[in-house]
Structures are given as structure tokens and as C-alpha cells.
Symmetry: C2
Subunit: 258 residues, 2 copies
């Protein structure tokens, strides 16, 4: 049997620490091709590049792992589109993975996440797809304890596939004294960001703003991704790109004067 083809992207950029860990893990499972942004794209959501041209350049930074890699000027979703429609063409990846994001993508953050947009773009193209995030924003975050879970989830998806229209968001707890307790299939917590803008003045006296925020979780459910990570489990949330609120259709038909 031929080795599975695994397409790797991310949103922290091709030179980030997290993507090297992901490429190393995937290289043990199959043939790997990397197409990732040439610069950090955190918070890019599901942005695509419409009004500007895109660059795509082969780079040798994963040569030590015998992995072909390209950097692109585009967003994470652009990278998946370029891989599929320009580089791979008739070849179809058996798995699309994104990450490992340097920081969590829990609860509502899936919507803002560039990491998840690459995975969701993979699902839109019809491929099993997973976004991985490490819940540790610190500069020296340890990724090594995540490796077993990352490989285990990837193997499960390669063996069993995913439902059509579904991509997985996997969050790995930060390194702790105790080993990770296991994997939990979860829903997104009903948590939100409470934003504040830091208002400053530039050297010319003109105002500018930094977005800053605190993650606030009032969801006590034990089936949420936040609960799982807080209890040292890896959370796996199946995510869909069909955003229709089906439960609202009958209500609007009943309530509205149309």
C-alpha cells in the first residue's frame, strides 16, 4: 500500500516552531507536502485573497526531513487552495492538517482562527482535515508532550475518515507535571472574549488602538472543549462550515410578516 499523502499548513507562518513539530509527526505517517504562509496570519479567520495576486515559492527548510515545502504570501485558506489547484491538481491528499498553533483555539476562537481556516478549507475541498492548537501562548511553550496525541488523532482520521463537511479542531493542554489524561470529543464552550482597546498616541499625536481582550468562560458543561483542556485532556471538536441556524428557520417563518 502506498503511503498516505498529507498536506500541512498553519497560520503562524512556515518558520514557526509549531509547524516543524507537526511536519515531524506527519513524516512518520506518510508523504508530506507543506504549503504555509510566509508570515504570521493569526486571527485571519477564513480570509482569502481576492484583490491581490499571490506568490508561491519553494523553500528548503524541511529538506532534513525529505519534505517538499512552499511558502505563500496568502492566507491559510489561500495556501490550501494553491496546494489543491496549482500544486497537487489530480492528486488528492488523504489528510489535511494545520498547526500546531502556538496558542489555543477554544470555543468561539474557531471562527477567528487562521489555523482552523486551513483545516476548514480542506474540508470544503472534500478532504479529512484537522487543526491542532497548543493551549500555551508563552514564548518557550513546550510542544513535545503534544506529539503522541497529534499522531494518534491523525492516525484515527486516516483510518476512519470524517463525516462530509466536518473538520476537527484539536486543542492540547499546556505541559503539566502529570501526563495528558486522554482525548475527549467535545462541543465548543459558550465562552467569549471581553475586549478592551488600549488607546495610545503615535509620535505625531495621532490616536491608535491595540485590540486586547480577556477570554471569559461561564459555561459549566463538562462536555465543552474548555472543560477538557482545563482538566488536562486533549479536546477534539468536530466543526462544520455550513453556518445555517436551522433551528431559527421555522421560528422566522412563524414570527415574521412576509
Amino acid at each position: 500500500m502506498s503511503k498516505p499523502l498529507i498536506l500541512v499548513s498553519n497560520d503562524d507562518g512556515i518558520t514557526s516552531r509549531g509547524i516543524r513539530y507537526l511536519v515531524e509527526a506527519m513524516a512518520t505517517l506518510g508523504e508530506v507536502i507543506v504549503v504555509a504562509p510566509d508570515s504570521p496570519q493569526s486571527g485571519m479567520g477564513h480570509a482569502i485573497t481576492i484583490g491581490n495576486p499571490l506568490r508561491l515559492t519553494e523553500v528548503d527548510i524541511f529538506k532534513d526531513l525529505d519534505v517538499i515545502a512552499y511558502k505563500s504570501s496568502g492566507t491559510p485558506a489561500d495556501c490550501i487552495k494553491l496546494a489543491k489547484h496549482h500544486l497537487l491538481k489530480e492528486r488528492n491528499p488523504d489528510l489535511v492538517v494545520s498547526g500546531i498553533n502556538h496558542g489555543s483555539n477554544l470555543a468561539i476562537s474557531v471562527l477567528y482562527s487562521g489555523t482552523m481556516s486551513a483545516a476548514i478549507e480542506g474540508a470544503i475541498e472534500g478532504y479529512p482535515a484537522v487543526g491542532f492548537s497548543l493551549c500555551d501562548f508563552s514564548h518557550k511553550a513546550d510542544f513535545t508532550h503534544a506529539m503522541d496525541s497529534v499522531k494518534h488523532v491523525a492516525r484515527q482520521v486516516l483510518e476512519k475518515g470524517l463525516l462530509p463537511g466536518v473538520a476537527l479542531s484539536v486543542n492540547i493542554p499546556p505541559k503539566q507535571n502529570e501526563p495528558i489524561q486522554g482525548i475527549k470529543i467535545c462541543r465548543q464552550a459558550k465562552a467569549h472574549w471581553e475586549e478592551e482597546f488600549d488607546h495610545r498616541r503615535d509620535p505625531y499625536g495621532r490616536p491608535y488602538f491595540w485590540l486586547a481582550g480577556n477570554f471569559v468562560n461561564n459555561d459549566k458543561g463538562e462536555d465543552s472543549d474548555v472543560w477538557a483542556v482545563d482538566h488536562n485532556y486533549v479536546s477534539v471538536v468536530p466543526c462544520q462550515y455550513d453556518m445555517t441556524a436551522h433551528h431559527s428557520i421555522a421560528q422566522l417563518n412563524a414570527d415574521w410578516d412576509i
Copy 2:
């Protein structure tokens, strides 16, 4: 009774034609404040600005309508956050509207749409929110036939509210000989974009790519947004920002070895 407060944004930029039509319509219904991007942001998805500061500047382009307006260097989602957390603070809008987008946002396009990201950000902040799109990409697109539907939808939402966690995506058919047939509450069609990259070389011989694509709809259902617009109805799709694929949770728990 005091007039409702209506926050207006968009993704085509504050000087676009569509936002002027929307501001004019909303000024007949309440007190309007505009916070919109200073340049086009089509395809920005739910991007937010994390690694860079934001500018916010008052502008007088809607002075003729007695409407206060600000332009921002940020994304549509940033504009809603800036409005809420910096400009309005304790005041809460009764309605957040975005658009009118110069082009459709049907089916999967909700995910890529900057127009819808402003509306969805409004819903995340807890406000009734609607994104409006005109299904006509032509330079000289006529917006005038959309005005009655835009006001009617806004009035319904002001009177009856929306379910928590839901924002509406409203698509208006292009101007035709016959008047619009009415409003239909719909689901997103199961359609997709078939991408092609136009591969060119710059004057220095280096390659670059333009994303181009065709919208392909194989969904025959008469309850979809594409069907409605194709039959000269205004489509109203309730959209949710919780992306959990709840139907996949039991299946993963049953199938996976965890």
C-alpha cells in the same frame, strides 16, 4: 419612545456605493452611527487585527444625512469591536447592519464574507444583526430596487428581535423587469466555488497567481438561498457562529479508539 440606535458597517469600504444606500435606508428608521473600513475588505472572512494597531478617524461623508461616521484601518469585525468597546461603550445598538455588499454572499460564501463577519460580530456581542448583499457584481449595479426589502427586513428585526447567537444573511436579486417576488427564509445552498489560479509572470520573470473561480450549485432544493435569488426572491438565511458539528460527536465517540 426614543429612536432605535443602528450601527452600520460593511466590507467594501466607507466610500462604496452600497453603504450609502444602507445608511439612507437606516436613517429613515432610527439614529445611525457608521464605523466602516477605510478600504475594501472583500473576502476577509472573520479576520481580526491582532499584531498591528488600528486607526479610527471621524469623517463627514454622511453629514448630508446627519449621520456620524468613522473610518477604520481594521477589518469589518474590528469595526464592530471598535464601535462597541471604544465609541458606544455603555450604549447598546438596537440593530447592527452590514452592507449593502456589491455582490452576492450565497451558500458557502457566508464563511468568506467580510460583510457577514461584521453582522456575525454584532451577534457575538449580543445584538440583532443583519448582513445585506446585492447579487449583482456589475460596476453599474442598481441598488434602488433593494431599498424596500432592506427596510422591511430591518423593521422586522427591530420589532421582533432574533434568537441568541443568530445573525441574518440577506441576499437581494439583481434588478429585473418584474418586481421582487417577496422574501423567503432559507438555508445556505450546498454549493461551492471551483477555483482556478491564473498563473502569470511579473516584469522580473517571477511567477504570481490570481485566484479565480466559478460558483457551482448542484443543490436542487427549493428551500435554499440560491433557489430563492434565482427565482427573484430576497433570501434570508439565519446564520450561527457556533460551528460545532453536533451530529458528529456521537459518531466520533462510537468510531474512535480513544
